[in-house]
């Protein structure tokens, strides 16, 4: 393999310049917006009326569901949000009984949590998903290529996909009613319709304060846990409850933001492309050395 001395020296130059100053990864920095909106869901208030599901459908132009919203038998099936429903209500019996010895149901609204440091956005190959200043994790269909890495990455298993569309399939998930909350005084469809104020919309910091007050105000009722305050580094949607979260479909998740490890690896290895350039230089040097040695052995210099 012929290699000219000049190109070999050029390669060495690159190697020297880059290997000498490997920009090592600074400590990982959260990119969470400082003052986002959020929603606080109070599981003790929700009555399972499915009004929020219906409102969500209307504001997002989603197709009519197969089972009418006033049919509550569907609550017995554990549903997940999908491409045609950005939010669903599930009913759980955690074992609590009322004073007449009847099992008390707990209703749980499920939708995208709008994580502060979303795994989906970090993973998305084109940046089609991104965390906005107002708290919404926004999907830009024009950038999406349909790789579904966001779905593999989301710890809450939220993004859904239009697998039956051959040409223009989209990733679908709760939008946090991005357009509505971007307007002054705007609220998400689900939060504004809720008849029992189970969903409170507001600044995340204020909601956390409210949640703590409610817990402190009735410690016998509430568990001392705000789900979403710290899970996966914090989420814009948060829950308080009188039953154990583990019993009503919530996962125990680490407080570490999901993208932290991968982003540290990625930037540690590839910031300013230092490692590939250094490797290129080293390999070039080795190749130059061996090919010159070879030429000498063959009896003619390069």
């Amino acid at each position: 393999m012929p290699i000219t001395r000049r190109s070999f020296l050029a390669a060495l130059g690159i190697a020297g310049a880059t290997a000498a100053a490997p920009k090592n990864a600074e400590a990982w920095q959260s990119k969470a917006p400082p003052d986002p909106y959020g929603c606080l869901v109070d599981l003790t208030r929700c009555v399972g009326c499915r009004k929020c599901e219906q409102a969500c459908k209307e504001v997002n132009d989603l197709p009519e569901p197969a089972i009418k919203f006033d049919d509550l038998t569907i609550l017995d099936v554990k549903r997940r949000p999908d491409q045609n429903a950005f939010t669903v209500i599930n009913r759980y019996y955690s074992g609590r009984i009322d004073d007449r010895d009847k099992l008390v149901p707990t209703f749980v609204k499920v939708q995208c949590m709008h994580c502060q440091d979303p795994a989906c956005a970090s993973a998305c190959i084109t940046g089609a998903l991104s965390k906005k200043e107002n708290g919404a994790v926004h999907y830009d269909v024009d950038k999406c290529i349909g790789c579904r890495y966001c779905m593999a990455a989301c710890p809450f298993e939220i993004p859904a996909y239009e697998y039956d569309r051959p040409v223009l399939p989209r990733v679908r998930k709760c939008t946090f009613c991005f357009e509505r909350i971007s307007k002054e005084g705007g609220k998400p469809g689900c939060a504004s319709i809720c008849p029992v104020e189970a969903i409170t919309f507001g600044k995340r910091s204020e909601l956390l304060g409210q949640a703590r007050e409610r817990i402190k105000g009735d410690p016998g009722k509430y568990n001392d846990h705000i789900y979403g305050e710290r899970e996966v580094g914090g989420t814009s949607w948060m829950y308080i409850s009188n039953v154990d979260f583990g019993k009503v479909g919530f996962q125990a998740l680490p407080t570490r933001p999901m993208p932290q490890t991968t982003e540290t690896i990625q930037s540690g290895l590839f910031s300013y492309l230092w490692s590939p350039l250094a490797l290129f230089g080293v390999l070039g040097a080795v190749m130059g050395y061996t090919s010159r040695k070879h030429d000498k052995e063959d009896g003619h210099d390069a």
């Binding site: 993973a123 084109t126 579904r148 593999a152 298993e157 993004p159 690896i265 490797l279 190749m287």
Partner: protein, 387 residues
């Protein structure tokens, strides 16, 4: 002793080739359905399991098994061990075909195939998948550039452009060779980073931040065994002389490379305490034991014996175990390990997914045979001649 690469003088149409053709047609029909009715018509993918065997096998294993390309290029061209040049061309061809089909598998799997170019425009640098995609795209190009001299040797006098490119490449090929090795190291490791973002959705047996290093070292380790497997299959099916004089020393290097991988793999398991789930009788632990036991430890021990390294059959067996082990590893990481917390039933590949995968493998074999019949790729002598 260096044999000059030359086209293989064997009839092209054999029963095996016809079987490959049938598989390719079946895959083609499946893809027509996929592009007419959507992914749900031919796959078992759903909202719980977004990635199936097209990513877990076609892409992830495909990338790993093409590692013969950069590992032999490193040895022969960068370290200057020209002795091994006999295997660089077939390894290069395998890598070029392998990566081309990796790119195709991605193309078929993503929902918006027509939008694949958007990755170049809307870059998200925090995404490991972005890194993989860019490297693979560039590397496919580099591999076919590296292949130009082979094409020019045969067609240079007919196609002037080829001869022209060949002359330019004579002076600049070293850039592409080094670039190929660098790109390989980058995306082999980034492929391992992909699932690190989902530690809560993957089995602790594979969920480790060390995954990029494990992917890289296993790619190093599988490179030469892949050359052994591919050379043995090619030389025996084309009735050529076996190239044991090259393969035996290659397998000595593999002892070291596979040993490093095994050490890291076991060390990581102990360090994280993940061995605790090893004997729980789950499908995951079973698959892990097969992967490491049959795919790493057994062939590693086998290779320690000189008799194994010298025997064509035993060396082939050991190499095949390593290759299968790495394939299983990629499959495990992307499919077996994946736990969808809210899924009600597990994922199994649909017939359509299997057909496309089988068709792609058949197409690689088919094209490999086509290339070695037409172009000077293989160096081994025909046995009829050396009689």
């Amino acid at each position: 002793m260096t044999h000059r690469p030359q086209p293989v003088a064997q009839p092209f149409w054999t029963p095996g080739v016809l079987v490959m053709l049938a598989l390719m047609i079946a895959a083609g029909v499946t893809l027509v359905v996929r592009y007419t009715y959507g992914l749900s018509a031919v796959t078992n993918l759903n909202n719980h399991y977004p990635w199936g065997i097209w990513i877990g096998l076609d892409v992830a294993s495909g990338v790993a098994l093409a590692a013969g390309g950069f590992t032999t290029a490193f040895l022969a061209h960068i370290l200057g061990r020209h002795y091994y040049e006999a295997v660089t061309r077939p390894a290069l061809l395998t890598a070029a075909l392998g990566y081309t089909f990796v790119a195709l598998a991605v193309f078929f799997d993503i929902g918006r195939s027509w939008a694949i170019w958007k990755v170049v425009i809307y870059q998200n640098h925090t995404s490991a998948l972005f890194e993989v995609a860019m490297c693979v795209m560039t590397y496919v190009t580099v591999l076919w550039i590296e292949f130009i001299p082979v094409l020019a040797e045969k067609l240079g006098h007919k196609i002037r452009l080829l001869a022209f490119l060949d002359r330019i490449l004579d002076k600049t090929m070293w850039v592409f060779i080094i670039l190929g090795v660098v790109l390989s190291c980058m995306h082999q490791s980034s492929l391992g980073t992909l699932m690190v973002i989902a530690p809560t959705k993957t089995s602790p047996l594979w969920a480790t931040p060390l995954q990029p290093l494990l992917f890289l070292t296993s790619a190093f380790a599988v490179g030469y065994p892949m050359v052994v497997v591919e050379t043995t299959i090619a030389t025996s099916s084309l009735k050529l002389e076996s190239e044991m004089n090259v393969l035996t020393p290659l397998s000595r290097i593999t002892i070291l490379l596979l040993g490093v991988y095994l050490f890291l793999k076991v060390g990581d398991l102990i360090w994280r305490g993940a061995y605790a789930t090893l004997l729980d009788g789950s499908a995951q632990s079973g698959s892990f034991l097969v992967e490491v036991g049959l795919g790493v430890i057994l062939p590693w021990v086998m290779l320690l014996f000189p008799a194994v390294r010298r025997s064509r059959r035993l060396l082939f067996t050991a190499a095949l175990l390593i290759v299968s082990g790495v394939m299983l590893n990629r499959f495990n990481v992307f499919v077996v390990s994946f736990k969808a917390p809210y899924a009600t039933s597990p994922y199994y590949p649909a017939i359509g997914e299997i057909l496309v995968t089988a068709g792609s493998v058949a197409a690689i074999f088919f094209l490999y045979r086509l290339f070695v019949t037409w172009f000077p790729v293989l160096s081994a002598q025909r046995q009829e001649v050396s009689r």
